[in-house]
Symmetry: C2
Subunit: 349 residues, 2 copies
């Protein structure tokens, strides 16, 4: 009988953050692709677009003018998925099949740069540090709101990720409940911390740093790696070396190193297929529910859809929706490919 | 204070099948869409395509000729995500962060029709019945394989769902483990059955049939509804009225009614935006692990991506990936829209 080889043979890997498995089929990367191709988004965007509702000074859908901002610019989302209004609700009694609860929250947009065509990897570390400081301020400010118990900072980049405007921006949603993915993560982080008195991610990155098989970038304070249990072909996770629960716990030096690794990682992403690399990214950190959360360990997920080129993405469809997430390329292979990318952006070469 | 209105106010709904929540933002359907549009797939396909590797008599990538089939045609996937080979594996001891297990399985393709351009809603009920019988045979045949404990029958339809060939076909993967989504479902079905001695879905559809708010179609033996907790805008679930654990438990009359409701539902889907409606669909049913499964209740999920038209889909991205699934239109509204669609296919009008 043939011996198992994780570079060749189908297997499942376990994700201890959400207690789920992923199916890995390394041999399947040889499959020819005859399906849908994504559009290449033109690199040639103007620095200012008079029709962009995010550019400085322009008018938004609701008639409000953006300020003539130079630094990251924050405003309340004009089409928010959450409402700030307090609502009176009598819990229904048909609990088994028709459980429902109102959800209160606030949703903001953060323009990263006044320049319409300047994405994260193209910004200076100092400019990215200003975004990090904006995220810190928003975490503090939204966290003070009585009904806000959790703050989700995220970015959808690229039209393939549902982003309707190429102007570099992210979003922040503050809400009363812990969303599903965060609740799962918290449960598993807490179980581990209660057993070990160390955070799960602290111990995990120690082992990864020893193995050096899935590390993409490392600096004094942060690690970027392809998690052992990654789902998306080039999924990565940015983890702070120190077990800090939230972004406001960063020292100024940590904030700087976080900005630096963000620039490095997104540059490598762009260089991989020489395209403005699409992804959804977001920060998982402690809730703002007034409790102590020693189990939490700051991390940021990057979920990029591309698989083989600037136009061929991974489809998480039938089997993945009904059965289990599935990947072809191994986490080790992806990490190696990202690692070998230059830290100089391809447009500057 | 304003009273809660589920047609207006953001809320979360609970999915008892997988023990997860979904965020519903009904007011957000007014949001203008400036993002990516999907390609319209031409309706004008030939009945036979000499370049299609699924058409009768044609050659596949591995040199094998398809038979000159008239009825549903099954073959082993040439680029399977699973391998049938038995592999020797020593469980690793680094269990916490690097848990891994080989996965053995078999993956098949089912051509639904010899005609390249004949999708489910365009087929006769009798022709769809033959597909149902093929699924039954495959469930029996794959279920006999020693290492196969679960069989996932599914279809990816449309290029937006990663389908690389418009020739009507689905897939069947038999494997040794229960995939993540199925395992979650089984856990919750079992908990309910142990407490109530009736299946969860039996009790759920009784209540839905009384309320008549989310039912799309009903016949003597099946119900098609938009579940209270649906995630995708026009997600539906087909449930057998009788609590049967698996497709092989259908009476001939049930098999016929299942084929009929499949035709009706997919016709309404096509009529909604007058397009060949993309989706991933799949059957959840009892594992083939040799155990009794009185908790299982046959059902089929339809996960269609479209939101507003043939070209605007719902993006499950940043917030959804990092936080929680989110929908704009309510399940009740979607059900009403599907219900009012004709059962005559738009191409025949
Ligand atoms: O097997 P196919 O049709 O080549 O591939 C399609 O369905 C599979 C199962 O859902 C997915 O893993 C692939 O990403 C998708 O492109
Ligand atoms: O808020 P936006 O950018 O209009 O919309 C985008 O991000 C949201 C949050 O991930 C998603 O719910 C939408 O489907 C997506 O199109």
């Amino acid at each position: 009988m043939k011996n198992f080889d994780s570079n060749e043979d189908p297997h499942r890997r376990y994700n201890p953050l959400i207690n789920e498995w992923v199916l890995v089929s390394p041999h399947r990367s040889k499959r020819p692709w005859q399906g849908q191709n994504e559009k290449i988004v033109s690199d040639a965007l103007p620095q200012y677009d008079p029709n962009c509702y995010l550019c400085p000074g322009n008018v938004r859908a609701n008639g409000i003018h953006n300020t003539d901002y130079k630094d990251p610019f924050v405003f309340d989302n004009d089409f928010a998925a959450l409402k700030q209004e307090e609502i009176h609700f009598e819990a229904n009694q048909e609990a088994t099949f028709f459980k429902l609860q109102p959800e209160r929250g606030i949703s903001r947009v953060v323009c990263f740069s006044p320049n319409h065509n300047e994405t994260l990897p193209e910004m200076s570390i100092e400019a990215i540090e200003k975004i990090v400081r904006t995220w810190q301020q928003e975490y503090i400010e939204l966290g003070k709101i009585d009904y806000v118990n959790y703050i989700q900072i995220f970015e959808n980049k690229g039209s393939v990720m549902g982003c309707s405007n190429p102007h570099p921006h992210g979003q922040i949603w503050g809400q009363s409940s812990l969303p599903t993915q965060v609740e799962k993560t918290q449960t598993n982080l807490k179980k581990y911390f209660d057993q070990n008195q160390r955070t799960l991610l602290h111990d995990y990155i120690q082992e990864e740093l020893q193995k050096q098989k899935r590390i993409v970038i490392e600096n004094n304070h942060f690690v970027a790696l392809v998690p052992f249990w990654a789902i998306w072909p080039f999924e990565t996770m940015l983890v702070s070396k120190r077990a800090v629960a939230k972004i406001t716990d960063f020292s100024p030096e940590e904030a700087h190193h976080f900005a630096a690794i963000l620039k490095q990682l997104t540059t490598k992403y762009d260089n991989l297929f020489e395209t403005s690399f699409p992804y959804s990214s977001g920060i998982h950190q402690a809730p703002t529910d007034g409790e102590e959360h020693p189990e939490w360990h700051f991390h940021m997920h990057f979920y990029p859809p591309l698989l083989r080129s600037a136009t061929v993405k991974k489809f998480m469809v039938g089997y993945e929706m009904l059965g289990e997430s599935q990947r072809d390329i191994t986490a080790e292979k992806s990490a190696a490919m990202l690692r070998e990318q230059s830290e100089v952006h391809y447009k500057l070469r």
